[in-house]
Symmetry: C3
């Protein structure tokens, strides 16, 4: 059995941002020498996620807008009345009451997006469909955040 571990660190300029990491995952698979196996790609934070989808700027922007409705921030005005009613009731997140925190919405976005994916490796290559790209999804950026890539197989 072979295994390989790699860590990435992100410090995104935007508070919420998708960062394409398909090539980093491919490189970790190549270095591992694994021909048949799986690779786990996992955010090490509770306010970020990992997702596989289309690397098309329109859908990425659509998705960030939509996530702000389903999991609304309390650090700015809700996008509309539905976002307002989906927010904490009443007022602000319990999570913010101790003071210092304002990222409750990032915990919710982490739930919707999920913090990890597992991808197949076949014949030494990342076995993705033609439109599948891997993204790190930052929801509380502007500071260093880590991600782990773990390759396992033979």
């Amino acid at each position: 059995m072979r295994s390989h571990t790699r860590y990435l660190t992100f410090e995104t300029p935007e508070r919420r941002q998708f960062v394409r990491i398909t090539d980093d995952v491919r490189e970790a698979v190549a270095v591992s020498g694994v021909e048949e196996g799986m690779v786990l790609v996992s955010a090490m934070h509770i306010t970020a996620g990992v997702r596989v989808n289309d690397d098309e700027p329109g859908i990425l922007a659509d998705t960030l807008e939509w996530l702000d409705k389903l999991a609304p921030p309390s650090w700015r005005e809700p996008a509309n009345d539905v976002a307002r009613e989906l927010g904490p009731d009443p007022g602000d997140f319990r999570h913010h009451r101790g003071g210092g925190e304002d990222n409750g919405d990032a915990h919710w976005k982490n739930l919707l997006v999920h913090h990890q994916v597992v991808l197949p490796i076949t014949a030494g290559r990342l076995d993705l469909g033609p439109w599948q790209a891997v993204f790190y999804a930052e929801f509380d950026g502007g500071r260093p955040k880590r991600l782990v890539i773990k390759v396992l197989g033979e």
Copy 2:
């Protein structure tokens, strides 16, 4: 270590549809000869998902209806005012502006449902609870779509 890979192709008559694939996964596990391990079941498209839940027609229909509210299509009237407000603002998906695309909602449903599951294999069998069934979740059907099953273990 043993591994086994199998691809399935779906071309569903419905645009959105759940297809039960538990037996396909069981068969791949049996063929692999793996006694202890994991099996990854992963859609190879960005407008489909894989999910484990109850094979009960009522909850499957409930869930498709609900996903059309949370992740509303723009190719038909929103189900109600909440669906309308959760849709792209204003009007249509940025993803559709280049022309040709109308499946932005399928990308969002892929996010909610996720494109993959990992299932345990114990004593040579798929180790599911009594009500757990595996489904391919199509959100933009009517054309061939692929899924990969990757078994890993010993």
Copy 3:
């Protein structure tokens, strides 16, 4: 290759409740002797989930409240008008019509939260970020429910 399997059973007093299980997962990893690998933590029910997030009581309470808006129960009044419109249309879940069932919302919460996570093992230890805790998420409690932990690696 090494593998190790452990089952946990929960019978929560609350209908919906998060139960921290990080130490159970750590113990399974230690017993397995695996130095490099992955551990799958998976609910064996269709009305429960597994999630990694912050063990902070405020965000856990915020999240249960929010899930009751996104995936509203029909066994009590909707939290507000948005929750009402996100519920089954009209009236109750198709899933409840056969009689005996009232847990349609728990199936939907299972979809949002997901029933499993895969976690990395590095140098014999569960390789989590500093704030990452593992939770069993019960959405239809008060009866025995099972979860499986499967460790795989070398």
